[in-house]
């Protein structure tokens, strides 16, 4: 699974209709090896510079968590 560094992030409180039940949730732009990807963050909140890794996802979009 992919691993990278948080380039920027936000916690969304006001969500679009179909994601409203999940709010608040965190998304982040992650610098991977030579690429940049917008992902969902699971578990603990992350900050710029944190090391994160991809976890398995059935949702159709990438989900990452902090590497502790």
């Amino acid at each position: 699974m992919r691993q990278g560094t948080v380039y920027t992030e936000t916690i969304i409180h006001s969500a679009p209709e179909q994601f409203a039940a999940e709010a608040p949730y965190q998304i982040a732009v992650v610098d991977l090896d030579g690429a940049r990807l917008l992902v969902r963050i699971a578990g603990a909140r992350v900050q710029i510079g944190d090391l994160v890794r991809e976890i398995e996802s059935q949702s159709g979009y990438p989900i990452f968590e902090v590497v502790s």
Binding site: T8, E9, T10, I12, P16, E17, E22, V39, R40
Partner: protein, 379 residues
């Protein structure tokens, strides 16, 4: 190349108008514009309409002839332009081409959006459609979230603070309180702005522009009149935030600005007043840097010092901006020109600035995928 002048301006008030339709808002703005021009509407040769997403907001497509016909502009070409939040200025950009080239002498540019008949969640969903459907909106990203991530990075790289962002909101609310056509006429304090309900951290409700109904119209002409459109330039950038190299700047704005300054024969130092696209407070800070008014990373302290207030060295968003005047998306880019023209004519009332000979407008689409920069000169 023929010169292009602002022959007439017209605007509705911006706000939540439950009983108003898309059509009657547009007609009000066009009628006001035609009356202001003092000429018969039969002289108008084409209609260029800025509108982001009437199909989603009001189930109405084919909006340009729909609006033109209702305004008594029959038979002439009427076309809709869509460039997310820069739809209005994009319509102007293309209309300017038609006049500069000599194809038309008199063109009407209209911008309109009717947004408030939808719920907040549905509005967020429609707006997210201006991002990347495959990589952004699919995981629950919103437009406030995009600009929140830009703010986070700007804070990290340059030490910009929440107080700097709040200073933009406080200034624009103060300006809006003096604009009879503004959506929100409420003065706020820094403390209120900082304590607002979070939307996408670090942005609160006070960092976000308003969801509004409204319309604006411009009559542009190669015939001489006091305000000339010296340049109007559009440029593009990546749609997805993750495809940008440095998200603390908008390349599209920088490209459009460089071209607009060169074509108008002026520099950032010559500009007397500005209307910029403050869809979020951070966007106004980034615009100050992209347009060359301050160096990279310096916008926060500069704006917080009062430099962009009504009595500052460069008044910015004297209309109240998208933050307080309101942001009926398709109307915004057209309304910015109307607001600058009001100042240049000396008709801005309590908000009137002293020097208003050279003015600049910047209208941004999405998280920077389209940017339009227009420079007006008073001859």
């Amino acid at each position: 190349m023929r010169p292009v002048h602002v022959a007439g301006i017209g605007k509705t008030a911006f706000g939540v108008f439950a009983s108003r339709t898309l059509k009657d808002l547009a007609v009000e703005a066009i009628d006001a514009c035609v009356a202001d021009a003092g000429r018969g509407r039969k002289q108008i040769e084409a209609v260029y309409l800025g509108n982001f997403d009437s199909p989603s907001f009001t189930s109405q497509n084919h909006v340009a002839p729909y609006v033109a016909g209702a305004a008594g502009l029959h038979g002439i070409p009427a076309t809709r332009f869509e460039a997310a939040c820069a739809s209005g200025a994009s319509a102007l950009f293309h209309a300017v081409h038609a006049v500069v080239s000599g194809i038309y002498r008199d063109v009407l540019v209209c911008g309109v959006e009717k947004m408030t008949s939808q719920t907040t969640g549905r509005v967020a969903q429609i707006l997210a459609g201006a991002g990347d459907a495959e990589f952004e909106s699919s995981l629950g990203a919103t437009f406030p979230a995009m600009f929140a991530m830009i703010a986070r990075r700007h804070m990290y790289q340059y030490g910009t603070t929440r107080e700097h962002l709040a200073a933009v909101a406080v200034k624009n609310h103060l300006n809006g309180s003096m604009n009879p056509q503004a959506h929100m006429k409420k003065v706020i304090t820094i403390e209120q702005a900082l304590a607002g309900r979070p939307v996408a951290e670090p942005l609160t409700i006070y960092d976000c522009s308003l969801v509004s109904d409204g319309a604006a119209a411009l009559w542009i002409s190669s015939d001489a009149s006091p305000i000339r459109i010296a340049s109007c330039e559009q440029a593009s950038g990546a749609v997805a935030l993750a495809d940008k190299q440095d998200i603390t700047r908008f390349e599209a704005t920088r490209i459009a600005a460089a071209r607009a300054y060169a074509r108008a024969g002026v520099t950032a130092k010559d500009i007397d007043l500005v209307e910029v696209h403050d869809c979020f407070t951070i966007a106004e800070l980034v615009a100050m840097e992209d347009l060359g008014f301050v160096g990279v990373g310096e916008s926060g302290p500069w704006v917080a010092s009062g430099a962009t207030g009504l009595k500052g060295s460069l008044p910015v968003n004297t209309s109240g901006g998208l933050k307080a005047k309101g942001h009926p998306i398709g109307a915004t880019g057209v309304a910015q020109i109307c607001d600058l023209a009001m100042q240049m004519r000396g008709l801005a009332g309590d908000r009137q600035v002293e020097r208003a000979k050279t003015a600049l407008a910047q209208n941004l689409g999405g998280s920077g995928a389209t940017s339009v920069v227009t420079i007006l000169l008073k001859d």
